[in-house]
Symmetry: C2
């Protein structure tokens, strides 16, 4: 896979984002989320992405949030979330996006995440560099935390976690976006409570290229090879630069 | 003030948003927020808004986040936040906006909130109706909460509050936007921990027109007339439809 292949994958993500935008905010005035309507968007985007990938890479496997489950034992496996942050999307919030990850032997290898309303595309290349659009990005380097520092947290933080972090918490409602804001060096880290492989495959590849990593709350390393069947994280994980992740482990506990 | 006056105020908010967009994401690649840079955007927008308002309504007072403090004893007092959600803006997050409130005798009377990246304009008219762009909006009516329901919370929720709410929490990083998502009937309610009059004047007018209200965590009514000197909320407040606000009071406590 070379630079122009990657450019093609990014164009698929933009194409997917354009479809999602057609559905966004078409429920203005409705009080209650119409989830069936969102499923239509999700399905349509996933179908399009699966078509593109299988035409171009017939030898690769594909797993997607919306039921795609094709040859997951192959060396290269695409993990797709056609619309990450569905709840935010339905609520008319701006942070949701398309997450296109490629695993190699079950490990995050390449990723593209596109956030349509920001027109921000996060990605990494084979050489191991991470980008936001055309700008190189990297995680926040080791340093003391300040009161303006923030971490991304899940929307069940109030019930599930005790957090003594001295900065701010933000619940963005989109796992892929949370990973991107850590990778670009804005958030110190992120706590991810529940996720499937399609939620994190792209983000973990980008994060890793940006100098970050993940660790379970218990201290165990994250092993994505156990998630290829569609099962979730075995435990909540912390992501960020290695030193920040270790420091966050000391201030975050399950309740 | 009539419909075309209100249309003019909305055009000022859009003009302000266009200025903010010029500054947005011009710090890509920087690891640390350059707060002085943001102040330049804030100041420039506030200056523009003060010019527009004082030319059109010379008999009105104006109070703004960026040091404007003009004739606050007048019957009509504008309360401006040129860039609400500065932290989110600096972090490259999409939820930030322009908040233009008009108080009458110290009480929220009219408001316009513009969220540039969504191109969403929330406002209310003299007849007491609330709108998102041209669509009427209203708060969520009394009903049982579901697991997908959400409330907007402040970024210090992890340190300051104990919350037993059965749904989700989201920390959006923009008070004006939090009020709008309650007013449009997406969020059940919002908890606001710290705010000045310019953060809430517009949002409270819109929320009220959408059928919502505010109450202090202690149960005391919110009295904005005590905030005109620039002081903050005397205590955290809950906003939403009256029944939801009362129910939220039962599940949210200061730690």
């Amino acid at each position: 896979m070379n630079d122009s292949d990657l450019e093609e994958v990014r164009s698929w993500a933009r194409e997917a984002g354009a479809i999602a935008r057609q559905y966004f905010n078409n429920v203005v005035g409705q009080r209650k989320a119409d989830r069936s309507w969102v499923t239509e968007a999700d399905l349509r985007i996933e179908r399009m992405l699966v078509e593109r990938i299988s035409a171009r890479y017939p030898q690769h496997g594909i797993i997607g949030e919306e039921l795609t489950h094709h040859e997951i034992g192959r060396e290269f496996l695409w993990a797709l979330d056609p619309l990450d942050g569905t709840g935010a999307f339905v609520a008319g919030l701006p942070l949701w996006g398309v997450s296109l990850g490629l695993l190699r032997q079950g490990l995050p290898y390449l990723g593209v995440i596109y956030l349509p309303l920001l027109n921000d595309c996060y990605w990494c290349d084979i050489a191991g560099a991470a980008f936001l659009n055309e700008h190189p990005i990297s995680v926040i380097e080791p340093r003391e935390w300040e009161s303006e520092d923030w971490i991304a947290v899940p929307s069940n933080i109030h019930r599930r976690f005790a957090i003594e972090f001295a900065g701010k918490v933000r619940s963005l409602g989109c796992i892929a976006a949370s990973l991107c804001y850590v990778a670009r060096g804005n958030a110190v880290g992120a706590l991810i409570s529940r996720a499937a492989i399609w939620d994190i495959a792209a983000g973990m590849a980008i994060l890793s290229a940006a100098g970050g990593g993940a660790i379970g709350l218990s201290g165990q390393a994250l092993d994505t090879t156990t998630m290829l069947g569609g099962g979730g994280l075995p435990e909540p994980i912390l992501i960020g630069a290695p030193t920040h992740v270790q420091a966050l482990r000391a201030v975050i506990q399950l309740r």
